[in-house]
Symmetry: C2
Subunit: 418 residues, 2 copies
Amino acid sequence: MTEPFKKLTRASDAWMKLKGRLSPVRPRRVPLSRALGRVLAEDVAAPLDLPPFDRAAMDGYAVRAEDVEGASFSSPRVLKLVGSSEVGRSPGTTVSKGEAVRIDNGAPLPKGADAVVPLEYAREIGERLEVYRSVVRWENVSRKGEDVSRGELVLRRGKVLRPWDIALLRALGLEEVEIRAPRATVLSTGTELQETLGDALAKPGSIVDTNRPMLARLLEACGCDVVKTEIVRDTDTTTVLRKLEEALELADLVVVTGGCSVGRKDYVAKALNKLGDMVFHGVAIRPGMPTAAAFVGKSLVVGLPGSPVAAFVSYKLFVETSLSVLTGARDPRPGPLEANLAEKVDSTPGFMDLVRAVYSEGVVRPVRRRGATLLSSLSKSHGVIAVPEDYEGLRKGTRVRLYLHWQSWLDVLEGEVP
Amino acid sequence: MTEPFKKLTRASDAWMKLKGRLSPVRPRRVPLSRALGRVLAEDVAAPLDLPPFDRAAMDGYAVRAEDVEGASFSSPRVLKLVGSSEVGRSPGTTVSKGEAVRIDNGAPLPKGADAVVPLEYAREIGERLEVYRSVVRWENVSRKGEDVSRGELVLRRGKVLRPWDIALLRALGLEEVEIRAPRATVLSTGTELQETLGDALAKPGSIVDTNRPMLARLLEACGCDVVKTEIVRDTDTTTVLRKLEEALELADLVVVTGGCSVGRKDYVAKALNKLGDMVFHGVAIRPGMPTAAAFVGKSLVVGLPGSPVAAFVSYKLFVETSLSVLTGARDPRPGPLEANLAEKVDSTPGFMDLVRAVYSEGVVRPVRRRGATLLSSLSKSHGVIAVPEDYEGLRKGTRVRLYLHWQSWLDVLEGEVP
């Protein structure tokens, strides 16, 4: 392939330039039902105690600890049984000096009681209860506020909200929460693109647009609200410019594929040069070279290659990484798989090569397919090996990191090599 | 805490017993729109070629390679320009001997042509084209079927379908796909459980049911269809039995929380003993001891503890692991984080302790909270350290594995310690 770009930016330099200009998007309040998988934008303090009342932590008898001090099998204490406390009901009684109440695990502790004697250490004899063991204050009691005390910080900003976090927010009665979810739009440019195979077969020279649905789902999985996706038939710079402007009215982030090289008909690159402030254009990666990033006001536009695999690689390196800043996410993530190469890998000096590879039985094997157009090479591989710019390849047996397609690739840009 | 179970099963033994009896659920055909994140149940062969036609891989001129053999700047070949081929259109012309056609990157290669001369190696002079470089056959052409040939196996059963897989299936015109998605129901038992905090506050002694929504979302994230969730007010064995039978009519997998210990009011355990074939009941884990698994016909019922964290831990160890068999998923997964312990961890000999811990700046720090009821300890931690049965604890500085809450814990049961 000839080299259309006069100058290419190294991947890590492109990322550092971009990262330096990113800032978190404005937070929004959403109902809890829309918060799963989104990034929390506020610190959440508990408006109430959890558990909301003192509860028995086992089946037994609610007592006053001082009444059973010194109790043993040889020297039982005798209390008066004055009622029972069941799960899901108000106890309806109190425990005064010398009294006990039958209680179920999870039931509210009656007023006056301060401990629970386990079932097997007591015996009912009519209205009387013989207790064979002492308990310390609050023994076998799950205290009010033991899980969460009112006012306590329970969730911190930057957290990706998982099912257990949503469950906690529900228990606290919080119906809304502040999140950072970038509004994103996806534009696929190309006069050859059709929605479905049926449409593509009806028009010779057409193909199905796979980038748009793929990128929309990827953006959603990273906590974005995808507000619009569209096929843009890019016949001139003005058309593309207008479509970009429309998208920018809706979105914090515009992802556009195709038309991003430096040819006569690369209208996206031309439009971005007119419209915004270009951060980089042309990156020394394979696949993915014709990638551009620009700011238009506070909004980020990333131009990706039109070929699906190149679009995917550039998305992982420059869009998904940006999302961690835009959302303010601060979660630890597992590292890549590490294994030895089952065969050698060739690469292009001066370029970072993202080599699709399969993990199997403890080794990593590159997928032998050329070209960036090959969508199937993603489905046939588990992840990529990043071969740095100053390597001519990697020898068989080299210990490598395999970055899975669905995990973060941030360390490809910020981590160690390879 | 006293020990209600006469005999506890070791975690890894419980898992091996369970695993030995699991088999994949029956596959179903679903539209592509419902296939994301599900496990493919069939091998998919391509019904057509991708790309569907020969395409130019760069801007230039479509030629017959033999016509430009030996061409150079000092000795150009001269061809007759007979038309152009644009992206998204049928070429409408053919290339005969001595002819060339102007062509855009991505446009269909006209009949007769077998290579593309890059733009910068040719010059138009009226109707004539001077060519300054030779090309080999199919040079700068993206061949029909180069990505996927008709009949080729593109996706294998066991694959978790990701956005790029769905994109590929779309490009191939496949509108339905066979998946394995277990039908799951979630029952929360407890007379104290309410849907919302409002309901709970209105009824003294009540609490919000957090298990049901938490488990439903977790099951969905693992590729299940959650067909029903319900609060069951467990006042006797018959009520629970009837609810379990109702659930089993709908589901391959029933997850039920609470009532799973061996007390008088543990109706779930009693019902499971009547209804099905118990695989294990009572596991030597903390939290999570009152866990049970039973088969009723071919359906699996897992009884989890009622306390949210214990329910979560048992879910991760025995339900989520089972799902990999029920769905037939065969994807590689990244391992846990590895780091040194920032402080010592105590544990109970004879039990596998699942200690919630935070990862921060290269070290792992346990969350100092007692008890299994503490839902907030999940939100305040990133994952768990598994301290095996024969340890009394782990010293400060020990290298440990932190299994993140959202990743697979299978290696806790099948992997190395700790």
